[in-house]
Symmetry: C2
Subunit: 247 residues, 2 copies
Amino acid sequence: MAIIFYDLLSTLPHKAFSPNTWKTRYCLNFKGIPYRTEWVDFIEIEGVYKKLGLVPSSYKPDGSPTYLLPVIHDISTGVSVADSLLIAEYLEKTYPVPSLFPNNTIAFQSIFDNAVRDAALKPQRRFTIPDIFSVVSLQSKDYFRRTREAAFGKPLEEIAPQGDEAVAEWAVVKAGWGTIDSWYIKSGGPFILGDTVSWADFVVGSWLIWARTIWGEESQKWKDYASWHNGRWLKVLDDLKEYQRID
Amino acid sequence: MAIIFYDLLSTLPHKAFSPNTWKTRYCLNFKGIPYRTEWVDFIEIEGVYKKLGLVPSSYKPDGSPTYLLPVIHDISTGVSVADSLLIAEYLEKTYPVPSLFPNNTIAFQSIFDNAVRDAALKPQRRFTIPDIFSVVSLQSKDYFRRTREAAFGKPLEEIAPQGDEAVAEWAVVKAGWGTIDSWYIKSGGPFILGDTVSWADFVVGSWLIWARTIWGEESQKWKDYASWHNGRWLKVLDDLKEYQRID
């Protein structure tokens, strides 16, 4: 057992839902590194950081620390790393084959997540909050409600757009995924680098799995996703299937 | 003579200063495509679009068209193209060697310009307006002043930050270039793809030439650039020197 992978707990049977930890799971599966998942609740993340001697991922405007997953601890080397991109860079350096950043594309790969966020995830964010709340573990529900209500300045139940605003905002989400689709069209697909799978595809796949998981395969939102851009999003998930095992 | 390259006129002896047209000049020089530059004033751009039968690059919120350079007309194929990335894609398809997007990195390359803008150019923009005004041709000065004053909602002379605000904003500019520097560090440099020059380096080079040109090599701003990030920016320009010929 080489790596302990700290992932975020949910009430779902297969537990995994966090998009950022999915990126790490993709990397571990892709590189074929043996790992064991340790499921951690929101309110337990700080304890993982302290146990492993990690410094906080970032700081809030008020100066208080933020503790985020994924985190890994590599038993073989004794190294612990937080943050999905930093973990990918660590894994690439320590276990170089197969490569997450082929042809030295690391600079590009490192800006890709932000580009996806700007295109599709920022407009989508408000739609997801109530559905994330429904899969958060019972003991973290208070924490989740409090932090999200503070961030958005309104009750959790009012964060998602409603009525005409929802229709307009959902069109923005679709246009954002259309931008991402245009990147696949440019490369010729099926991957961002054309024939070669890389970190960028795992970023897209993680955000897709997250949407499918929190909304559910039978939801209208996921059915919309599945119908957009000539079925691109089901195809991307299918093309990455061999790296989606939850251990 | 294969290509006519429409570039923006200035009062400078060598004329070239526009960052977006510099991207195209880099591409033409890199691919070794024979071309002739046709110098166009701001207020003449619309006429170039009409002569070549091009549709406007984009539309303003009020619905009126925007006409931007670069534009090329390829005499060999009869094709005219506007927009630096679309021109690069056209040149890559029509004159594939050497490649602007090696290893099928076109999807990444196409998001790179935005990443540079977000990191460093948005914070820098206000510092550049008065200096651009000073190199704009006499007959375009009224046009430039009117459009920029409308965009920023203040007199041209008040757009650039002053005093304490200038110090704080300039630190944001430096931090933005620090982000771009971190990408070069990740790849190991000297280029964004490591050893291989590509479109992304021409984007960075174009923004650097622009800064050096409008502020001048002896300005404190350019001296700051030259001193930042272990001399990265002078080195990037030097590494791209063979593609900087103005024909």
